[in-house]
C-alpha cells in the first residue's frame, strides 16, 4: 500500500481546465482515502454538472480512479491514480474489490490453518505459516502476521484453543512462554459438540421470551416453538 507521491512534474497540469485542477488537487490531497463526489461538491462549491463532467474527464485521462467504499456501498470514492485505496475504504486486505469481505477465501485459509495445526498437534503461528508456505497451495505468500489473524479467528470460533507453552510435556518442542495453538476438543468428529442447557430448549433461544408470560397471549402452553419441538 504505497502512499508515496509522484513528483508533481509528472502531472500534466496544462491539459486540465481550472475546475479540473481544483478537483484534482482536492482529490490528490486526500491521498489513499479519496473523496466522495457529494463531499467534493460541498467543499468546492462547484455546480453538480461541472463536477460530474470534470470527474469524467479526469477519469478519461487516467489521472484519477474510483473505488467503492466498504462502509457505504454505492458511494464511490475518487482517488488520484498514484494512490492505493486505504483500508478504511476497501476494508483492508481481506476484502475483495467489491468491498465485500472475501469469506470464501478466508474460509479456505482457515481450513488450511486448521489442517496444519491438526498435523502439528500443537503449533505457534510461525510454525503454521511455515507449513502453509511449504505446502504451496496459495498463490502468494502470507506473512506470519496474516496467518496469526486467521488463527486467532479460529480461536474465536472455538475450533482452536490458545495456550502458553510451559516448555514441558506436549509443549516440549516450543520455547516456554510462547503462545501456541491446538485443535479444540469440540472439533473431534467423534463427539457431539456440547450444547448448553439454555441453547437446547426453545425458551433459551426464544426471540419472544420477554413477552411470554404464563396465561398471557404468548405463553408456554400455547407456544408454537414448543409444539414444533415436541412434534414426534
Amino acid at each position: 500500500m504505497s502512499k508515496r507521491k509522484r513528483p508533481d512534474s509528472n502531472v500534466p497540469s496544462q491539459s486540465m481546465t481550472d475546475q479540473e485542477k481544483i478537483l484534482y488537487n482536492l482529490i490528490q490531497s486526500k491521498q489513499g482515502l479519496g473523496i466522495w463526489s457529494r463531499d467534493m461538491k460541498r467543499e468546492t462549491n462547484l455546480p453538480d454538472n461541472v463536477v460530474d463532467k470534470s470527474l469524467k474527464s479526469l477519469l478519461g485521462k487516467g489521472l484519477i480512479k474510483d473505488v467503492v467504499n466498504v462502509q457505504f456501498k454505492g458511494r464511490k470514492h475518487y482517488l488520484a491514480s498514484e494512490f492505493e485505496p486505504s483500508p478504511e475504504i476497501t476494508g483492508g486486505k481481506w476484502y475483495d474489490d467489491q468491498g465485500r469481505l472475501d469469506s470464501e477465501f478466508i474460509n479456505f485459509l482457515k481450513d488450511q490453518c486448521l489442517k496444519h495445526i491438526r498435523n502439528l498437534k500443537i503449533a505457534t503461528v510461525d510454525m503454521v505459516a511455515d507449513a502453509i508456505q511449504r505446502s504451496r497451495v496459495l498463490k502468494r505468500d502470507y506473512s506470519s502476521q496474516e496467518i496469526g489473524e486467521i488463527v486467532r479467528a479460529l480461536v474465536l470460533d472455538d475450533h482452536v484453543i490458545e495456550m502458553r507453552s510451559n516448555g514441558v510435556g506436549e509443549f516440549a518442542s516450543i520455547p516456554t512462554g510462547r503462545m501456541c495453538y491446538k485443535c479444540s476438543r469440540s472439533l473431534d468428529a467423534a463427539k457431539e459438540p456440547r450444547v448448553g442447557a439454555m441453547a437446547s430448549i426453545p425458551c433459551g433461544v426464544c426471540p419472544r421470551i420477554a413477552h411470554c408470560t404464563p396465561g398471557g397471549i404468548i405463553s408456554p402452553t400455547t407456544c408454537e416453538y414448543y409444539t414444533k419441538w415436541l412434534d414426534f
Partner: protein, 524 residues
C-alpha cells in the same frame, strides 16, 4: 454477597411451592419473597388471610426449611421498654433446591445402602425429623427394637457422610447492629460492616446455624439443658398475645421439646455438584486425564472446604493426589508422569514440595461463559458467536471497526449484529464523539458480566418455569390416556402413549439440565 431473587426467580419459586404445598402456602411464601422478612401480623395484613391460616402455612414452610424465623429487638421510645418481635423470612435457595431433590437422592444411593436412601427420602418428604420419628417410621412394618438400632445406625451413616445435619436454631435472636437505624432491615450503603455477612438473610442464617462442632454431632439419648430452653421459645413473638396458640405450635414448629431435629444438609450436595460441574467441564474442554486428576484433587479436599464458592482449592501434595487417583478405575492406568502432565494441563499452580492447587473459580467462569456463548451461537449465528467471544475474552471496550477486523465479520454486517446483541442485553455500548473538522462518532462495545449474568439467570428461571408449565400441560392433555389400563392401549392410542412418554422424558431431562445451569450461575 447474595443478591435478591430476580422477578422470574420469585415466580419460579412460588410455582414450586404452589405445586408442592398448594396455593395458600404459596401466597404466604410469595408475600415474603417479594417484601422481605415480615412479622406474622404483617403477613396477615398483606395477604388478607386469617391469622390461623397464615400460621399453618408458616408451619409448613418452616417444617420444609423454606422459611426461617428470627427475633429482633425494637428499641422502645422514651419511657417504653424495648420490644421483641418475631419475623419470618423466605429462604429462596431452599425453595429452588426442591426441584433438585432427586439429584440428592441419586448421590446418596450411589454411596450408601438402601436403608440410608429410604431414611433420606423420609427426611426429604418431612423436611425435618427427630430420631424418634425416624424410628416410628421404620417400625411401621417391622419389629420394634431392631428398628431402633437399625435406624440409629442408618442415621449415623448419613450424618457421617454429611448428608444430614442438625436443624438450625428455630428462632435465633438478631441484635440490631448499633450503627444502624431502628429497623434492622434497612441498611445504609455507607455502613462499614465489611467483616460482617452482608445481607439480612446471611446474618439470620449465620445466627441460626448450629455450631460447627455440633452440626454433625450424634448424642442419641442426651439432649442438653440449654437446647431444651431454647426450643421452648414461643412461636409467635412476644408482641403478640396469642399464648395458647404459641404453646401448641411449639411442637409442630419443629422444636420437639428437647430432641434433636435432623434435616438434609444441602450444602454438602452443593459442594459435590460444584465439583462435578468443574470435572465435567474439564473433561469436555481438556481430556479424560485432566478430569481424573481434578476429580482426585477435589475428592480429597472436599471436607476441607469452608464454603461452596471456594475460589482456590487447598494445596495437595503430588503423592496425596496420586493416592486418590489410584482408587478410581479410570485412574489405575495413570502413571505419575501422566498425572503431572495432566496437572500442568489443568493450569494448576505448583508450590514447594510439589504441591498443587487449582483455581476453581476460573473453571466455573469458563463453564458460565460456555453456557452463554452457546446461546449466542444458536440464537444469532456463527459471526455473532465470534464477536461475542472476542468481547468476552477482551473484557474491555472495543470499537466497531476493530471488532469487525479481528472477528472477520464484514464491516457492513458487524454493526447490525452488535445492535441486535445490545438490544437483547448481551452487550454494553458506549458512544464516543470526536470533534474535529468533521464530527465523528465511534461506538464502543463490551460484555458486561455484572449485568448480563443476572439477566441470563433470570431467563433461566423463566425457562424453567415454562418447562414445568409445559410438562403439566402435556400430561393434563393426555390424562385420560395415561390412566388407561395397558391392554386398552393399542393402535393409535399406543402411538399417542409413546409420544407422551417421550415428551415427558425430554421435558424432564431438559429441566434437570437447565437446573444444573441454574446452579452454575446461582450457587457455584
Amino acid at each position: 454477597m447474595v443478591s435478591p431473587p430476580s422477578q422470574y426467580g420469585i415466580k419460579y419459586a412460588v410455582h414450586i411451592v404452589s405445586s408442592h404445598f398448594g396455593d395458600l402456602v404459596a401466597k404466604v411464601c410469595e408475600c415474603l419473597l417479594r417484601r422481605g422478612a415480615l412479622t406474622h401480623q404483617n403477613i396477615v395484613r398483606f395477604t388478607e388471610m386469617s391469622a390461623s391460616q397464615v400460621k399453618n402455612c408458616l408451619l409448613v414452610l418452616i417444617q420444609q426449611n423454606c422459611v426461617q424465623a428470627f427475633s429482633v429487638e425494637h428499641p422502645g421510645g422514651v419511657g417504653d421498654a424495648s420490644r421483641r418481635s418475631t419475623e419470618y423470612m423466605a429462604l429462596f435457595d431452599n425453595i429452588i433446591h426442591r426441584m433438585r431433590l432427586p439429584k440428592f437422592v441419586a448421590v446418596v444411593s450411589q454411596e450408601l445402602d438402601k436403608e440410608c436412601v429410604e431414611l433420606f427420602q423420609g427426611l426429604l418428604q418431612h423436611g425435618r425429623l427427630t430420631l424418634e420419628k425416624m424410628i416410628d417410621r421404620a417400625k411401621s412394618g417391622r419389629e420394634d427394637c431392631t428398628a431402633q438400632d437399625a435406624t440409629r445406625e442408618t442415621l449415623f451413616k448419613l450424618v457421617n457422610a454429611r448428608f444430614v445435619e442438625h436443624c438450625p436454631d428455630p428462632e435465633p435472636h438478631l441484635s440490631p447492629p448499633s450503627e444502624e437505624g431502628a429497623p434492622a432491615r434497612k441498611r445504609t450503603k455507607s455502613s462499614k460492616v465489611a467483616a460482617e455477612p452482608e445481607t439480612l438473610e446471611e446474618r439470620v442464617l449465620a445466627a441460626a446455624a448450629p455450631m460447627e462442632a455440633k452440626r454433625f454431632l450424634i448424642m442419641f439419648d442426651t439432649a442438653t439443658e440449654e437446647d431444651g430452653q431454647k426450643m421452648g421459645d414461643s412461636f409467635l413473638g412476644v408482641g403478640e398475645k396469642r399464648k395458647s396458640d404459641a404453646l401448641e405450635s411449639d411442637k409442630e414448629l419443629g422444636s420437639e421439646g428437647d430432641r434433636v431435629l435432623w434435616r438434609v444438609n444441602v450444602q454438602e450436595f452443593m459442594h459435590r455438584f460444584r465439583h462435578k460441574a468443574c470435572v465435567e467441564n474439564v473433561r469436555e474442554r481438556l481430556d479424560g486425564g485432566a478430569a481424573v486428576a481434578l476429580s482426585a484433587m477435589l475428592e480429597t479436599s472436599r471436607s476441607m472446604e469452608k464454603k461452596v464458592k471456594t475460589d482456590i482449592s487447598v494445596p495437595l501434595s503430588i503423592n496425596t493426589i496420586y493416592e486418590e487417583v489410584m482408587k478410581g478405575e479410570a485412574g489405575r492406568a495413570m502413571t505419575l508422569d501422566h498425572l503431572r502432565a495432566s496437572l500442568v494441563m489443568l493450569g494448576c499452580e505448583r508450590g514447594a514440595d510439589e504441591s498443587y492447587k487449582i483455581d476453581l473459580k476460573n473453571i466455573i467462569e469458563q463453564a458460565q461463559n460456555e453456557e452463554v456463548e452457546s446461546v449466542v451461537l444458536k440464537k444469532y449465528g456463527q459471526n455473532a458467536y465470534r464477536i461475542f467471544r472476542l468481547l468476552s475474552k477482551a473484557n474491555r471496550l472495543l470499537e466497531t471497526d476493530k471488532i469487525s477486523d479481528t472477528a472477520f465479520v464484514d464491516k457492513k454486517e458487524t454493526p447490525k449484529i452488535l445492535f441486535r446483541l445490545w438490544k437483547d442485553q448481551f452487550l454494553h455500548m458506549e458512544k464516543v464523539v470526536v470533534t474535529g473538522p468533521r464530527q465523528t462518532q465511534f461506538l464502543l462495545w463490551k460484555v458486561n458480566k455484572s449485568t448480563l449474568w443476572p439477566h441470563v439467570l433470570d431467563e433461566m428461571y423463566h425457562a424453567a418455569l415454562n418447562l414445568n408449565l409445559r410438562v403439566a400441560y402435556e400430561l393434563e392433555k393426555e390424562n385420560e390416556l395415561l390412566n388407561l389400563p395397558i391392554e386398552k392401549r393399542s393402535g393409535p392410542l399406543e402411538k399417542r402413549y409413546n409420544r407422551i412418554r417421550t415428551v415427558r422424558l425430554l421435558l424432564e431431562s431438559s429441566l434437570m439440565k437447565l437446573d444444573d445451569a441454574i446452579m452454575l450461575f446461582h450457587n457455584f
